[in-house]
Assembly symmetry: C2
Homo-oligomer: 749 residues x 2
């Protein structure tokens, strides 16, 4: 249909078109991105985010140490060019440029690098923002292959000769997704999208607005006019927005406007309802909001025969979207800080929904911060260990060695901090300033050597051994392996009580206490630290034993339900999901709560921490069904790093059918499972489908292997779909009466 | 003479006057000052200063690590009030205020603290500037009695009860002289004062301006008009300002002004001459400058019978003024960084001129920076040790324990870094990244275990032992004392060579080298590490031995001349001063140079580091006569911390008479000395006047004590003047031919 051929177009447009095409080609060749010192931008961005928390208009920052970026940074790379190349430089900060160690005059925006082998150094100073550069040439681009250092130890002798024994430590540059030269890292903001209210109730000097569901963003006041004060009371519930004296967040404004003007609030807030109160003389046309979010795709999917579970999954998904922001945060209304224990659960859920590795590594980076280590992460001993566990899982799910290579020294110094705080028995015991948290539970003892901490400590040491291997630190690997084995053997020697058939809670002054709690026992199950006999013993004596103090927080319910799943109790867990999460849905929840107690009534549900609206109605840990459904129903999990190998072990748990996708680094594992048929496909790696069948199943696309006990296995090759017709074995359900109970107190400092 | 009595005034002025008076009273009662975390403001300010260096228009920052402030700070103090008190709050940053752990709504500018015992916490976040507060009430003020922390380890249990075992480390707040609430620390700038040019030479499109002497500040262009470019070439010499292609500093501007306008340059520069070149179409009325300086008083004074020495003293004083700024810097034209070895000499000179302790402690604080220690200070091993030595002297001269108490943990971690880098013999030997500097000297070996480094190491360990005692760390004191004794004994065991009658330069692979250098030998003299016999041996075999490699840098000449003085060779040193510093004056120097070689001619004097104008014509270390004249001619030095006791040992060194003042923490020691009479007075502490006399002297005001060998002593009580008539013993002068030689290379990285 074109009137001109391509050749004609070139003729007509001449050079300009050729240049455009050539620019397109070069763009395809090399992709530049803004780069910085690894971890520094994360620290800077977290400082911004964590200091945006307010409580009824007061600034409310974290109580732990916040780190800071290096203000002076050296970036370099050596290039070997066939032809001279002009490159554009964009820099956040004051800077100089050296070509082959020779300073170029001024602060050049473009330089030409001659053909041959040449070294480019860019030194950047920035106190307020993180030193960052964007370099764009035809083949020369800024990316993670550049080397960075905050300290150049190349000294010279009296003849000007550079030392031959440099002590400079170079790291690969850090980056995220700042691929547009014009969008500087310092200008980062989450995406914004206008959203309209669902209902408005207007009274003479007030407006009550409902956005229809929990949301997060900036309230926008339209057509504001007059002189006087306006107060905005936010509510996750209508009750909260109406409770002007006790709602958790608010804004006060004073205006003096002779003509109508729109005004957007400075700080984003979490809310569904907005109650606007105005002085006489102030008027307002309407209220909308700018939804603020991190744009992430739902790579994981889940659908099943139970519509309530489907709804649970959708609301859990929305909960995760709301709480996955600059970093993984816990509650969107109140905390808005990064807690290592809470983030750990978000990492796990993320692997079954977004599979967004940068948000995991950003969160891990900022939680670790910088040396020296002066405190446990968030000041909490267990939260330090969750950080190590997070790396263990991160590597297992993503196979990304880079983060480990770059952060191994900081892993070492954090572990050194822990090792330096062992007691005379070589165990972790709270010292002054160590918050032994475990869980919010009435009367829970933190005295002496708590078994739960040793268990997490052992797993952390295993993580160190794993990572030492990845960075080729053979000495470290041996050291950490030995330490891990030692702590693990002490765990069983000191805490396993044959009579109780369980790990006891603690030792005080070297003596086992009588107390059995669920924590170390349930973690030992899915850490696979127990023999099968021990697992069954723990199930009976702890998990299904009403005499053992109940778990009352959704935080620990996450692990308790995981332990049940790991024991094959999916039927029980499905029932729990329907009761607990379904219960919230029945109360109109549009995102999942920090805590839910079915025995409460009305606005009682919103109270926590002794405050009538202290509870967060959108809390990351409330989204755990995403993880449970993906890992223990669809049954997909990696068995070696980055899904090089993985297993698919579908368990219907009482559902008639289910289907879904679990994301892997570069693809998905798709699973369908009904009472008759299993369909599975994986895009990468080598999977194993494992299932039980009463009779030898039929399979299309592969060869089934009988493993005995009615268990069958099938190897999943990448890109191939397998269809298996089978006869499922009836699933058991234990008659335990474990139920969620009221949360006594919350981490609402 | 007043027409009104005070009572009348009150009547006439009414309440307003009463309020003014009451404000004056309360101001007298308590003095508020801006406070921050100790060391943080210093780091921030040094980042600003050290990143202002340019080289021919290019940004030229340090190569070592720059630290950063804590962005989140908690300030608190407990008050016990007889009456409620309203206090004003000024804060640099976002903040909240807690009264008795309860958050006050919003960001209050005033709060009222009730009568009784109450705790006020102010939490401040500031990424760009250092979190700082100014609190002003009647009795409640912000000062160093407030406690600060970057990390609050007060966690709570599930009942909300605060932990009874806090791990929070509190320090006393840091401060300087920001006593005006309206002058925020972030807005700090040095004082500025307009200065006019001394001469102008105008040509059609240029103006050549002479300010008459070396100066530092901002060039101001008056009556600038037109469109085009202007270039400003700065020169410490006329030759440099004229050498547009090779002068060290310059500014380029582009203007487009239809009417006349004045313009002040952004960055201050060091210069005497300014060469302005303008495009056609650009015109300029005149040029002046804003002299930029830290306002400090000359508390030390010196006058004598030799007018050339008086001139040397005055120019040395001006050199010190120019190089004492936000911090002690070395050269004002080029470096403008803080080098520990150079600053160490400034501290010493400062004690005999300004006695400005804050500039010493600011400089010490920023050189140390923060943990972790990843490098020697300025990457140089000896510079780490000078830092410890600086603290030793700081305490001896000022008696200020606070700095030591606050920084002892950072002293420990820096010493731990050193201890961790000892070789298998327990000695300091350069590892990768350790710059063993010592001095710029041709062929000077840095290989193996260098004796000079062990000597500084021993003194540093002695400093640690001293400071451990001050902070009541008995264990540390014993440890460091033992380590110091060990290193000192190894120094003599490994390096003292009886045959050579000197310390040799180094050991390589455990074997003494044959090389003898001056460094460790001259330091051993004034560290008093040698017996008298050893001192005489070193004097003969090293200091006066032309076969031993000569000192060619003024940096090490400082110590060489000090060693001569410590050996009583003031006559020789006076001659050196007249030759060397007098030589610079003869060449028209208005401040003292980085280096001076009398054999050079004309513009050759300005060359260094292979650059025609690489030499700094105003370098702090050039001001050493201030120190030598005060300490070894007037002869005043503390013998215990803060001049609690001190000695006055005047030595004329060939002068007919001299008089002067040496500052002490809260006063001065005044000394007059001629061939006939000594007059001395001290404002504080207990001094000892010591001198030689051929016959028993007459004394007014005290009792003289004969010590034998013609030595007499007199105790100086505070506030009393003593007049001694005596008959001096002839001073010796050694016939050594030690002369300054050309500096081969300089630390001009």
């Amino acid at each position: 249909m074109n009137r001109y051929s391509t050749k004609d177009i070139f003729k007509r447009l001449g050079l300009a078109a050729v240049m455009v095409l050539s620019a397109m080609v070069s763009e395809a060749q090399q992709k530049a991105t803004w780069i910085w010192y690894p971890g520094d931008y994360e620290i800077w961005l977290a400082n911004k985010m964590q200091n945006r928390r307010t409580e009824r208009g007061s600034f409310f920052p974290p109580f732990w140490r916040l780190d800071n970026h290096y203000v002076l940074m050296d970036f370099h790379k050596v290039f070997d060019l066939a032809q001279p190349e002009e490159v554009e430089l964009l820099v956040e900060g004051d800077y100089n440029v050296k070509l082959d160690a020779k300073l170029i005059s001024g602060a050049p925006k473009k330089i030409t690098i001659p053909a041959g082998k040449h070294k480019v150094n860019i030194k950047v100073h920035n106190q307020q923002y993180v030193p960052a550069i964007f370099v764009q040439g035809k083949t020369i681009v800024s990316d993670s292959s550049w080397q960075v250092t905050y300290e150049d130890k190349e000294w010279i002798d009296e003849t000007g000769k550079v030392s031959d024994q440099s002590g400079t430590k170079w790291l690969n540059a850090g980056y995220w997704n700042f691929n547009d030269p014009q969008v500087r890292p310092s200008a980062f903001q989450l995406n914004r999208e206008p959203q309209a209210a669902v209902s408005n109730v207007r009274q003479p000097q007030s407006l009550f607005v409902d956005f229809g569901k929990e949301t997060f963003g900036f309230v926008k006041l339209h057509g504001l006019k007059g002189k006087g004060k306006i107060s905005i009371y936010y509510g996750e519930s209508a009750e909260e927005a109406k409770a002007t004296e006790t709602c958790e967040t608010l804004d006060h404004l004073a205006i003096d406007l002779s003509s109508k003007k729109d005004s957007v609030m400075n700080l984003s807030k979490a809310f569904r309802f907005v109650n606007i109160q105005m002085d006489n003389g102030v008027s307002l046309d309407s209220v909308s909001m700018l939804y603020e979010y991190l744009p992430l795709s739902d790579r994981g999917q889940f659908r099943c025969s139970d519509e309530q579970i489907n709804k649970v999954y959708d609301v859990a998904k929305y909960t995760m979207h709301l709480s996955t922001r600059e970093f993984f945060i816990d509650g969107i209304k109140r905390d808005r800080w990064i807690w290592s224990g809470d983030a750990y659960q978000s990492y796990l859920m993320n692997y079954y929904l977004f599979f967004d590795s940068p948000t995991v590594s950003r969160t891990l980076a900022v939680l670790r911060g910088k040396d020296p280590v002066t405190s446990h992460i968030n000041t909490i001993m267990d939260y330090t260990f969750y950080w190590f566990l997070g790396i263990y899982d991160y590597y297992q799910y993503t196979g990304d060695k880079t983060f480990i290579q770059q952060f191994y020294p900081r892993m070492q110094s954090l572990m050194d901090y822990c090792l330096g705080r062992r007691n005379k028995n070589g165990l972790m015991e709270g010292l002054a300033g160590d918050w032994v948290f475990i869980d919010w539970a009435e009367g829970l003892s933190k005295k002496g050597e708590v078994s739960f901490e040793q268990l997490l400590f052992a797993r952390s040491l295993e993580t160190m051994a794993l990572c030492a291997g990845i960075v080729n630190d053979a000495e470290g690997a041996a050291k950490y392996k030995g330490l891990a084995a030692d702590v693990k053997s002490k765990l069983f020697a000191n805490y396993w009580n044959e009579q109780k058939g369980a790990l006891v809670h603690s030792r005080v002054n070297g003596v086992q206490t009588e107390n059995v709690t669920r924590y170390s026992n349930m973690f030992a199950i899915f850490f696979d630290y127990l023999t099968n006999a021990q697992k069954q013993s723990v199930k009976k004596n702890v998990l299904l034993n009403d005499q053992v103090q109940k778990i009352t927080t959704p935080y620990m319910r996450f692990y308790e339900l995981e332990a049940f799943c790991a024991l094959g109790e999916q039927k029980y867990v499905l029932k729990e999901m329907k009761d607990y999460w379904g219960g919230m849905l029945n109360l109109g929840a549009t995102s999942f709560w920090e805590e839910y107690n079915p025995n409460r009534k009305g606005a009682e549900h919103y109270a926590m921490y002794g405050r009538p609206f202290g509870k967060s109605l959108c809390h990351a840990w409330g989204a755990s069904p995403i993880y449970l459904l993906g890992k223990y129903y669809l049954g997909v999990k990696p068995t070696s790093a980055g899904y090089a190998t993985y297993i698919v072990e579908p368990v219907l748990g009482g559902l008639k059918w289910m289907e879904g996708k679990v994301p892997t680094p570069h693809g998905n594992v798709s699973v369908y499972c009904s009472n008759k048929q299993i369909k599975v496909k994986g895009d990468e790696g080598r999977g194993t489908l494992r299932f039980k069948s009463k009779k030898r199943p039929d399979v299309k696309g592969g060869i089934i292997e009988a493993k005995g006990d009615g268990i069958y296995e099938l190897t999943i090759e990448p890109g191939k779909e397998y269809v298996v017709d089978y006869v499922p074995v009836a699933e058991k359900i234990s008659t335990g009466t474990v139920k969620s109970k009221e949360n006594q107190n919350g981490k609402g400092i």
